[in-house]
Assembly symmetry: none
């Protein structure tokens, strides 16, 4: 009476284990190895191992192999109503955004996200293509938080409104400025309406100028946002604000100014002039200048 192939294999493995050839912690041959060695198909080998598993002689560890010894813990309840927050792309993007908001893009890692979600690292890769793709998604989601409401009819008001919305987004997500791409619009679908609104407001300038002005505007806003970002990071890394830092280094700066004969700079900083580093004001100032310049072109 010939036994079924999977039972033959199971018996052979059982013999090796009981003979001590395979000891607890050792890995029994994988299904693929059994396929090769015994000339059987995959599921046959699988079945053989399953026999041993149901005898609690071995247990299977996905990614590791089937190792000798009883299962350590049966934690995975697999079934169940999944009352735990389900993992999906939006959830990953949300957690990634939270990390980047709090600690900057540099602190964003796939492992970190996985840990915070209580999930294995590689599980993330089912929902996002990779880290770069995730960041692009994050950018799109961040922009999407600031949709355009009604855009004013006046061109200047319209441009101002869009620029302020952008500024608000940069302010809310400091990492956004260094992650966004202005030259590949398809990647950030939710940015398109903003571009459209600016183009619409500026179209009287003629096609070429309209596009140039639009890009210039966005480049400027991002430029200021990057100042804000690097400032914030420097502050977080060193625990020193810009003002404190300026105070601390003022001697050194003064020396350099003196050495370079930088009289205008010196004059500006003299008299205890205290420039309050208000980036909101700075943003509005530059925006107004830019729009004044555009307005001058209409005359």
């Amino acid at each position: 009476m010939s036994e079924a192939p999977y039972q033959v294999i199971a018996a052979e493995l059982r013999r090796r284990i009981e003979a001590g050839e395979l000891r607890p912690g050792d890995r029994v041959p994988s299904t693929r190895a059994l396929v090769r060695d015994f000339g059987v198909a995959m599921a046959t080998a699988t079945k053989a191992l399953q026999v041993l598993q149901s005898d609690r002689l071995v247990h299977a560890s996905p990614g590791v192999g089937t190792v000798v010894g009883p299962p350590p813990r049966s934690r995975r309840t697999t079934a169940g109503p999944d009352d735990v927050p389900e993992l999906d792309r939006d959830e990953i993007v949300r957690v990634g955004t939270a990390i980047a908001d709090a600690e900057g893009l540099a602190a964003l890692s796939m492992r970190r996200i996985a840990t915070e979600l209580g999930v294995s690292t590689m599980a993330l890769y089912r929902y996002v293509g990779g880290k770069d793709a995730l960041v692009v998604q994050m950018v799109d989601a961040a922009i999407g938080e600031f949709p355009l409401r009604e855009v004013p009819g006046d061109w200047r008001d319209a441009v101002t409104a869009v620029a302020r919305v952008h500024w608000a987004a940069y302010r809310r997500h400091l990492w956004l400025a260094s992650a966004i791409s202005l030259s590949r619009p398809q990647l950030v679908p939710r940015l398109l309406p903003h571009t459209d609104a600016v183009v619409r407001a500026l179209r009287r300038f003629g096609k070429s100028a309209t596009l140039s002005a639009t890009i210039s505007l966005f480049a400027y806003v991002r430029g200021i946002a990057l100042v804000m970002e690097s400032e914030a990071h420097a502050e977080q890394d060193t625990g020193v604000t810009a003002d404190e830092w300026a105070d601390r280094q003022s001697d050194q700066l003064a020396a350099m100014i003196a050495a370079g004969n930088l009289t205008a700079f010196q004059e500006l900083l003299a008299d205890g002039f205290d420039y309050d580093y208000d980036l909101d004001q700075l943003f509005e100032f530059g925006l107004a200048i830019f729009l004044d310049g555009l307005a001058a072109r209409l005359r």
Copy 2:
């Protein structure tokens, strides 16, 4: 988390000094003594003493020992003609810049630099504080390549000249835009004359406006430079130019435009309008707008 051995030792010695157990002129335990007493290796003991030395709590006298008290004089020995500068900071900065120019900041690694110099990785750390410090040096050196010659007397010409010099620097070193810090001027000494020139040209606007306008200007130039950088990298990574990419994705873009009812955008791109993505022109355009806006303020 327990501190590193050398820090433990340093703390202990510091305690003894501050408690008066060791007084100025006394000799602290030699490295060998520390090796015996603390059961550590020689260099660990050395490091511990170095910590105290950098705090100016003690100073080392070769052949005598390390004695309590500040160093009497820092007499730069520097003997030796050093006629063969095999490795020095400038050389490291030069190689690092070459790598970043060719392949971007992301390709810059300490190992890479060391390999290209035919030197061990850690040897670099004798000349530069670390990668961040190296990048700062690179930024300074890059700016230093573009010193200001004569700055025109007219304020508008002067600002234009400085902005163009910056633009040239960004053009030459694509990584520069994302590495430069505009908010911590001391780190980039050779940037100060540029700032000074702009401040001088704009001082008639009043102190606060002068500073705002200066920062806005630099932020704008960097903003455009970043567009150029990301464009160049995207091109290098994917092997696809912006135009080719636009062509390839035009259907997708058109679909998104249609879906969002982005009529102005659509109109702009219609008629086979071919915007030649000339960033030099773009830069000049935005600069002129900005200066027009400033000029309008003078009236």
